[in-house]
Symmetry: C2
Amino acid sequence: MKVAKFGGTSLANAEQIRKVCSIITADPERRLVVVSAPGKRFKDDIKVTDLLIKCAEKYIECGKADEEMEAVVARYAEIAKEMNIGDEIVDIIKKDLCERLSGDISNKAKFMDLLKAAGEDNSAKLVAQYLKSIGVEARYINPKDAGLFLSDEFGNARVLPQSYENLKALKDMDGILIFPGFFGYSLQGDVVTFPRGGSDITGSILAAAIGADMYENFTDVDSVFVANPNIVRNPKPISVVTYREMRELSYSGFSVLHEETLEPVYRRGIPVCIKNTNNPSAPGTMIVPERKSKNGPVVGISCDNGFCTIFVSKYMMNREIGFGRRLLQILEDEKLSYEHVPSGIDSISVILKEKQLNAEIEERILKRIKNELEVDDVSIERGLSLVMLVGESMMRTVGIASRATGAFAKAGVNIEVINQGSSEVSMMFGVRAEDADKSVRALYEEFFGGE
Amino acid sequence: MKVAKFGGTSLANAEQIRKVCSIITADPERRLVVVSAPGKRFKDDIKVTDLLIKCAEKYIECGKADEEMEAVVARYAEIAKEMNIGDEIVDIIKKDLCERLSGDISNKAKFMDLLKAAGEDNSAKLVAQYLKSIGVEARYINPKDAGLFLSDEFGNARVLPQSYENLKALKDMDGILIFPGFFGYSLQGDVVTFPRGGSDITGSILAAAIGADMYENFTDVDSVFVANPNIVRNPKPISVVTYREMRELSYSGFSVLHEETLEPVYRRGIPVCIKNTNNPSAPGTMIVPERKSKNGPVVGISCDNGFCTIFVSKYMMNREIGFGRRLLQILEDEKLSYEHVPSGIDSISVILKEKQLNAEIEERILKRIKNELEVDDVSIERGLSLVMLVGESMMRTVGIASRATGAFAKAGVNIEVINQGSSEVSMMFGVRAEDADKSVRALYEEFFGGE
């Protein structure tokens, strides 16, 4: 039994949904299907989820949002009409939206989640309806009925352990099950959503729960590429990649899979296949626990922008036991998460996402570091990009660091930070933002033999 | 006015002490002199400080240590005899040792400090006596009388701020002042010593206190070398090095200067000169606040052995705010200090000196990390060496990392850890202990053009 998940562009219109349904019915193992909300039909289109966010915001502001709700309904109605599945489903969707809008707006995050989840939920109802209309035994599954319970962190939920036991029952149900992605329910019965892109997580949880043979993730590209196609022209595809490699890649800039997606399948050792809805016969990218094929030590190059460095120096810092811990405590008090902490004997840097800092937080932490840690100097430098070289066998291959740093030198890029040695999967280079693309291209040239 | 400090080999016998005295009298600016305890006269000789440690240990164990005490007295007596300064000074030294041995042994660390300090203290008395005997106006200065007060951390003391004010008065005293290195007094009046090699610190504190024009540190080498002469044959000398560069070098394996030596002169911007007692006309190595001469970006290569890595991995570690801080807290609870904390997205490593760990501490921290942080995996790997490339302009020079990693690759050395980016002065490479010497030689070859 396979779990198949389809992303937003695969559900953007009737034509795409027909492709999805023919993919589903082409393999009898594809019995548990996770769907996203309808995505963009064309470049400047608006995703249904974004329409829903607008709708929710307008409602909170004005107490009504008729126009915005109508825009959402119109998207579904257009699809339903083109698929000849009648008006009944549109009425169901409209009624559902009205009910959601009449929810409690006193907790804004909770209300937003309730509205946002409508995209996937109604998408699932629509797909089930279409399959039934063409004579396929299919049904919509409500996540609450199925027992997908999440922590009550609105917009940022985590699955609760009992969900896996609950969801196991899906395995024994007949027909094709259409499950909405992106959300579940808190133990209090509220709709809660995963971080955005979370339909991938739903699919991963279901695959783990039923012990699927494979988790197929259908998107709009033939495969994952070794580097960002917006930076490198026609990059090579990745045919096989390990969980750990994929996690590093998706964490640090690869947007194909949301970074937390893999945890449930990782824990169960279930292989994942990234495939293209528009070209289902292409082999795609397989994500597996262990990789035997030897495609060279580097599997991918990623890049993530928008980091800053808090640089702290104090003569004799290394003599002070607890200095680093107290510095991290100050960041923790401000709920800041950091990426790396390179250190010298008299200095320590903390690299973190700069969007976490606003002027107020920045002023507060700089003041605390100065006063409480009695440092000689503390400053923040913005505009750092992190370029990652990813590959499991890299660390046991002499000369990778040399080839990588040689590529930077050849491109005339000064490396501000190097962090290698903890992760066995990646090597990190911090460069100025303006050098980021150049760096990715230089590494691609070095490790994948030219564009 | 200059402060001149002479190390143990410069005071090992009468011949050496004569050299010291002729150096002192050759420059009228050399008015404040710091001396160590007599060091080794030949390869397998025992330093007076080590004789004193033996003596103290024997006394604690047996309640007497006549033979050990006699061995110490014999060293001074031999010197006094060869210098024709009479028996009186030997009686003074013998009486001093007897008095120290009758001290309180209930606090072992305190007793050890009292005994250890006798080496420098009597060395100073002897040198002063000799200078007087040849008609030079000189006198022994007692650190308590001069007001050198230290924290009461026996064997690991730090100077107390009021000492600087007290010591200023030395500037106005007549004649040549012979000051014993290595120890001072707690505010309770107990003798306390600096970490070993601490005579350098005494000299540095005195130079800062009197605002000396220069702090001359006399030892037994013509200069500091760019790499360890035991590893690289005939390494090039360093003519000028900055405080920050020297501190990195001495912290990470250069044994010429004790790593904390420079702080007091650093704070006052006083230049330091490392010179050779046996070849005082050689220019030596100057340590200065700023370096203008351009000798290439790398000034030295150091290497320190005996590190271990605590490797911790946990899936989704990066999602847990406070993880790193809690890990460092566990180490802090055990009073462990660490050097570097490289991190990946699911893993973090802590690099620390392995001698800090015994089986008991190791078991306890591994257990705590496992239980309290609920990690997937935690392990300790020993036998790591840290090779440092040091130089102030390195970080602004494109291609240094490339040349360095290229040298490792050429030597067939796998780099386990790279830490670059916080210190603006150094670049750190972690390698297996068995690759350490090979790495230093490869870097020397690359940056200093062959042995």
